[in-house]
């Protein structure tokens, strides 16, 4: 089924996709002329597949549950924010705060992600085939952020238990973020992420792992210069 956002408005389109009639067994949808609209495919909750042919604005796929959303273009701020499950695949680049606070599912970004990618992420897997901007994985709580390219300044600032895997260069690390030992568990996880992202150019041993030094987990006045 096909929605042309120049002919059908966003509310009608989202409403249809949010309230799928299961009896009709429609599972595949295409949205054309997204024209940078905000909140496209926000709040989907069914196991459906939506392909957006063009660029999207803010919060595309916001709070997604179960749906697979493919964006054949670039995506604006807050892609897949607070996503719970499902998959969002962007074939272009994404703006800041991609995957912010997302609890689950998978985000695949073929291009680059801007600043604060994975901010406060809470369990999602984010795969970036390009580079990420500054303050990525800021206060990231859990889940994995895999970066094939480079990372901007203050990577993993105040990170909690998220694992950051990166193949390229890191400008510098944020407070309490350190390089951590790679082991079988993490190599297996990277293999899984590379497979999910259909990435063949890299192997697990091309990546370094960063995470929390856990020195700021409980307040200590002697760490005050780190804040």
């Amino acid at each position: 089924m096909h929605f042309d956002l120049r002919k059908k408005n966003l509310r009608e389109t989202n409403s249809f996709l949010q309230n799928i009639d299961r009896k009709k067994n429609q599972r595949d949808f295409i949205i054309t002329n997204p024209d940078g609209h905000h909140a496209i495919c926000a709040g989907l909750k069914n196991d459906i597949s939506v392909t957006v042919k063009g660029h999207t604005g803010y919060y595309c796929g916001g709070m997604n549950q179960k749906a697979k959303i493919t964006i054949e273009g670039n995506a604006g701020t807050g892609l897949a924010e607070n996503m719970m499950s499902g998959t969002i695949h962007v074939k272009g680049n994404v703006s800041q705060s991609a995957g912010a606070t997302a609890h689950g599912g998978t985000i695949i970004i073929d291009g680059d992600a801007s600043s604060r990618c994975g901010i406060s992420m809470k369990g999602v897997d984010i795969i970036v085939k390009g580079s990420v901007g500054h303050m990525s994985a800021f206060m990231a709580q859990s889940g994995s952020l895999l970066i094939c390219g480079d990372a901007g300044e203050a990577l993993g600032d105040s990170v909690y238990e998220t694992n950051i895997y990166i193949a390229g260069k890191v400008s510098n690390l944020g407070a309490d973020c350190v390089e951590k030992k790679m082991n079988k568990f993490h190599l297996k996880k990277i293999d899984e992420l590379l497979k999910k992202g259909n990435i063949k150019k890299y192997k697990a041993n091309n990546f370094k792992r960063y995470g929390s030094a856990r020195k700021l987990y409980n307040f200590n006045i002697d760490n005050v210069s780190a804040y």
Binding site: G78, N82, I119
Partner: protein, 440 residues
């Protein structure tokens, strides 16, 4: 024999006993003082205002016969299902984590019995709270702890929290000792670590972005429920104007007497404006944009009784919200626990180390033994009684001013006892026609 040349020992006004104890505490512990509650310093407040009552030029309504409406509709600007409340006094957001599950349940029970709404907090929506609350406002906070779309769709309204009166520009902190398994799971963080709540939202900055965020929330909830925007008493005119422009249905404005679960004392006492100083600028913004009574204004921060409710509404608020008073109604700081407060180095009425999780009243704790002291059914009934009493008090005052609806109260019904309050509330100093700052 007393030496007549000695003068009485004189303590410093600047270095008073409390200040000195704080210096000693900082030197001893190496950490700033974290505590709960709102500003404790003496501030210009509703006590500095008086109602004039009816006289030759106004006639009163009969207290026990003539109706005085208290109902309020919140959020009829865009939402398909605005909140319809029996009384204009709502329960403010308080988190599960800071408060126990039964305490949250009691807030829901009390609010429902009194015909009003209660609000979640930084930590998500609990089953107990949703189950017992007819009208539940779901907060969208910067941390997004416990935020999920299923709960969002269960909410009767959504409150985007930008600021809190106790700490405009500040985040939160739930110290490790209060992180039980359940709290840790809801917040997706390990047990026992200090959980910082972010001070700004992760996926938007500024009012233009907020407008888009509100559209996303409306799309997810299919434009059914109202969107509140909660701001701290920082720059009330501009913050209110920008929230209206961003598409808020309701503005919640929290002055510096508004409480918090845990923040630095230095922050609570030195950042933000008193509630009294915030109301008129916010109403100015609503009126300048022709949105007064179309976008509702809820005032919070230090509301204690029906007179405070009536005064806030006379200055232009559509409703008020209570947090600290609701906790006291539940049993917080009750003198019956005095011995235990003493053991914790405090006294009933002053206990504010809620973040330590040792609350003798069993309200601001996750300790199962202490939690058992608190009965959510009795607590809910007490809160409901209190809400009904202060509503009746506000009605009593409104009738005495000749009003058949609390919303008909107006600044002309008031005078001020101090020059400061007169200037802030823009009502005449008692016994004069002088409103400081107003061009004659």
């Amino acid at each position: 024999m007393k030496n007549r040349n000695n003068t009485t020992p004189r303590k410093s006004w600047t270095f008073d006993e409390y200040t000195n104890s704080e210096i000693r505490r900082a030197a001893e512990t190496g950490i700033y003082d974290i505590r709960g509650g709102g500003s404790k310093r003496k501030l210009p407040h509703f006590d500095d205002l008086l109602f004039l009552g009816a006289s030759m030029s106004r006639y009163p309504l009969e207290g026990y016969r003539e109706k005085c409406n208290t109902k309020i509709t919140l959020g009829n600007r865009f939402a398909k299902k605005p909140l319809e409340l029996e009384i204009p006094i709502t329960i403010a957001g308080m988190s599960f984590g800071a408060l126990s599950g039964p305490a949250k349940e009691a807030l829901g029970r009390g609010a429902t019995l009194a015909g009003t709404s209660t609000t979640t907090g930084d930590g998500g929506m609990t089953k107990e709270e949703r189950g017992q609350s007819k009208n539940l406002v779901y907060q969208l906070l910067p941390s997004r702890y416990g935020m999920n779309p299923d709960d969002l769709r269960k909410a009767d309204a959504i409150e985007v929290v930008i600021g809190q009166g106790a700490k405009p520009g500040g985040g939160g902190m739930l110290l490790g000792q209060k992180i039980s398994d359940r709290v840790a799971e809801m917040r997706n963080l390990p047990k026992g670590i200090d959980q910082r709540s972010a001070c700004r939202h992760p996926d938007w900055t500024g009012p233009d972005d907020l407008a888009i965020k509100i559209i996303e929330l409306r799309e997810i909830t299919e434009w059914k429920v109202p969107i509140f925007v909660k701001i701290a008493g920082a720059r009330p005119y501009y913050d209110t104007a920008l929230a209206i422009k961003a598409g808020a249905d309701v503005i919640v404005l929290d002055g510096m007497q508004g409480g918090t679960a845990a923040t630095q004392e230095v922050f609570i006492e030195n950042v933000g404006q008193p509630t009294l100083a915030c109301i008129r600028p916010a109403v100015d913004a609503l009126q300048d944009l022709n949105m007064h009574r179309k976008v509702q204004l809820i005032i919070s921060g230090g509301i204690r009784n029906g007179a405070d409710v009536a005064k806030a509404m006379a200055l232009g608020a559509d409703a008020v919200s209570i947090g600290s008073a609701a906790m006291i109604a539940l049993g917080d700081n009750d003198p019956k626990w005095e011995n235990e407060y003493n053991k914790l180095g405090s006294t009933a009425g002053a206990y504010d180390d809620w973040h330590e999780g040792k609350d003798p009243a069993g309200i601001t704790t996750q300790d199962p033994k202490l939690m058992k002291r608190f009965d959510p059914i009795k607590g809910g009934k007490k809160l409901s009684n209190y809400l009904k009493v202060i509503t009746l008090e506000a009605q009593t005052i409104a009738r005495a001013c000749g009003k058949n609806d609390l919303h008909n109260l107006e600044p002309e019904d008031l005078c001020a006892l101090t020059v400061e309050a007169a200037a802030m509330a823009r009502v005449p100093l008692a016994g004069t026609s002088w409103i400081p700052g107003k061009n004659i």
